[in-house]
Structure formats: structure tokens, C-alpha cells
């Protein structure tokens, strides 16, 4: 079974530029999560999708971050414009159904450096 795929693995941009990350969850998984992990901190949930609908985006900085999951499969997270404090690893995870007790399966992450 293929795992959660993310690309790119690394990205370096200058502040005020735009960037997009892509995630392809495990086949058949209904729920998709995007996390931000700043160096030295635990992952922070940015947004959670159930199929192609948003379940929780309370911690997504909506003035600069956006995410979509068209067709309920893969997803894109965008930052526009980027700030220095956006430097982090962006993790994508998926789970079979939307339940608090679900195991989440994580991708390898995208490491973003904003200069």
C-alpha cells in the first residue's frame, strides 16, 4: 500500500513570494490533514478536510494561507505572500474516516525555508 505522498520535499523562497505544496493521501482515505511543524515544536493542525469539505480550519492564517481538496482526493496548500515565520515543515496526513480515534498516516513533509 502506497503511503502519503508530498511534494516538493524542500523549498526555498524569499519573503513575499508565493509557494504551493501538494499532498496525495492514501487511496480511499476520507480525511486529510495539513500540519505546520516549526523547528523545536510539535505539529500544529492547520486544516482538516473530510472528503472535499473543510471540517476545521480554525488555526489556518486565512489572510495568507489557503488550501483546497478538489474531488476529495489530493490537496494543495498555498502561502501567499510568505513571511519569515512561515519557515517550517508542512506535514500532510490522512485517515480512513473522520473519527477522533483514527490513526493518522503521515507523509514525509515539505521543508520550507523563507529568506
Amino acid at each position: 500500500e502506497a503511503g502519503v505522498a508530498q511534494s516538493p520535499r524542500y523549498k526555498i523562497i524569499e519573503k513575499r513570494q508565493s509557494v504551493a505544496f501538494w499532498c496525495n493521501p492514501i487511496s480511499g482515505h476520507a480525511t486529510l490533514y495539513w500540519y505546520q511543524q516549526i523547528l523545536g515544536q510539535g505539529p500544529k493542525l492547520l486544516i482538516q478536510f473530510q472528503n472535499n469539505g473543510v471540517v476545521d480550519d480554525s488555526q489556518l492564517p486565512k489572510d495568507r494561507f489557503s488550501a483546497e481538496r478538489l474531488k476529495g482526493v489530493d490537496s494543495t496548500l498555498k502561502i501567499q505572500p510568505a513571511k519569515l515565520e512561515d519557515s517550517a515543515v508542512y506535514l500532510c496526513a490522512s485517515s480512513p474516516v473522520r473519527g477522533l480515534t483514527d490513526t493518522q498516516y503521515f507523509g514525509p513533509g515539505t521543508r520550507l525555508t523563507v529568506l
Binding site: G42, L45, L91, L100, G107
Partner: protein, 112 residues
């Protein structure tokens, strides 16, 4: 909102020695607790989870954790560690009406 505190940011331990990684959470009526591990250059993967029932939970790779409601703790233990256990360990909590919260992580280094 829930919160999770991992009291030790780094834990060095000699090979074959026992280890305990500490985790405390903010109190809630009913919580679900998780330990995830991140090996170098890999994504996070689930070690174990407590949902209900027995307070002693066994996970993969010989790890176990004990849910202690009175102390709001969920410490992770292994009786004898191996070099391959060197990794970052994250405690996480959620409950009904709340989202998923991770701790800041504990870096376990096993010394040969």
C-alpha cells in the same frame, strides 16, 4: 482547548537500559491519547493509543504507556532500548469537540 506537555526535550539513554518519556495533558472529561514516533528522515507513525478500557496500552516495537487519569499523564516506557529506537517522540491528545494537539516532542538518543 486541550494542551499537552512533554517534560523532557532530550533524553539520552544507554542501549539496553529502560526509558520513560513523560507526557501530561490538560484535564478533560474524556480524552484520547496517542504517542507518535518520527524516525530520522521519515514521517510520523503511530506507536500506540489510549481510547478507553485498560489503562496500560501496548504498542509497536516493545513500547507501552499507562494512562493515569488522576495525574493527567500518559507516560511512554520501554524496558530495554535499542539503537534503532533513536527518534523523536510526540505525545498527542484530542477529545470530543476539540482538535488534535501535539506536544513539543522528546528526542530520544540511544547511546551504544
Amino acid at each position: 482547548a486541550q494542551s499537552v506537555t512533554q517534560l523532557d526535550s532530550q533524553v539520552p539513554v544507554f542501549e539496553e537500559a529502560p526509558v520513560e518519556l513523560r507526557c501530561n495533558y490538560s484535564s478533560s472529561v474524556s480524552v484520547y491519547l496517542f504517542w507518535y514516533v518520527q524516525y530520522p528522515n521519515q514521517g510520523l507513525q503511530l506507536l500506540l493509543k489510549y481510547l478507553s478500557g485498560s489503562t496500560l496500552v501496548k504498542g509497536i516495537n516493545g513500547f507501552e504507556a499507562e494512562f493515569n487519569k488522576s495525574q493527567t499523564s500518559f507516560h511512554l516506557r520501554k524496558p530495554s532500548v535499542h539503537i534503532s529506537d533513536t527518534a523523536e517522540y510526540f505525545c498527542a491528545v484530542t477529545s470530543t469537540g476539540n482538535q488534535f494537539y501535539f506536544g513539543t516532542g522528546t528526542s530520544l538518543t540511544v547511546i551504544p
